[in-house]
Symmetry: C2
Subunit: 185 residues, 2 copies
Amino acid sequence: MGEQEWLPTSSYVVLGLLSFDAALTGYEIRQLALGTVRFLWAAPAMSQVYRELERLEAAGLVEAIDESEGSERARTTYRLTDPGLAELRRWVEDSPYEPPVIRHQVALRLFLGRIADRDKLVSLLEAHRDWAAGLIAELDEIDRNIGDDERWANAGLVARWGARFYGAEDSSTEAVVRELDERDP
Amino acid sequence: MGEQEWLPTSSYVVLGLLSFDAALTGYEIRQLALGTVRFLWAAPAMSQVYRELERLEAAGLVEAIDESEGSERARTTYRLTDPGLAELRRWVEDSPYEPPVIRHQVALRLFLGRIADRDKLVSLLEAHRDWAAGLIAELDEIDRNIGDDERWANAGLVARWGARFYGAEDSSTEAVVRELDERDP
DNA sequence: TGTAGCATGTAAGCCGTTACATGATTGA
DNA sequence: TCAATCATGTAACGGCTTACATGCTACA
């Protein structure tokens, strides 16, 4: 058993977004990422998307189609090739489990908060709750918009997962505020 | 109002860990990070810790003390200076709110899972539940070990926050498995 | 005697970001 | 006509990781 080689995850993000549509420009991939993958991974920067597309094309995993008809503006769409789809499936099915990575600035500041003013911590936590509430609203709307579209069934699954995830974030934050209140009212 | 300048967050991780003890070596800082900050941020690599310490020392935020007595093995401890403590407090209290960043490989694979074998997805989700259960056990033990130590009071707060956070992760994952089962039993 | 842990670094490299730069198209 | 959006890139840099390298110390 030789060692399996895997591309960086960002490559699979791009590959994966292309699996939802026949052909997309780099710009459209980015837009799609902002509406979906953003909630569970990072939406790659524009320049990153173009770099991934270059790499994927060189590897034969995507195919570029020049759609700049005549002398109009440049427009290139990309579509998954058969090897590209196979590689995507291989990653989804067989890549080794990686636990989620979180960078939780609020929790970190709270952890170090012994040296800080209590009220400042509380308003930080409140800002965080507002943010979580906003995200949950977005996710609920996404879930509603998906409806019964088969192609996006798993996106609905993930949207509901996300709503639960950020809902827990909200109630945990509230619980922390309560604990702080009890400690020094 | 000029623009505030902030160090990268990893600097505050190191600074913050030093706020818990009088003086620590780079190695000890890393050990402490693995036992605490790991759950809410990344534990920086050893080499990263040393680089931060260099930078912080150059900025006068920490002070190095050579403890290699005689010709023994090299050992340098670091302690927070007064400006270092002030800068840490400034960050905890006044740095702009940053939402948490998650890189959730499992959710991403699920999102793209339309093209994948259902059973492979389910065993991925089960691996994830095992991982979450393990983390929760660790956090509970940390919380018990802290007890009433004033200095670690906020660490307890964060340990309980983490247990709730990863508990939600566990039940959300379970809910997704149930949804998958209902979809195609 | 040997191995695990303590302790400190250097080098190389990828990933991903921000900033910069350019220009077409569409609609108000 | 002007602004927002579409569309594509380049350059530079910072951050962080892995791999490499070294050697002491304590303990079994």
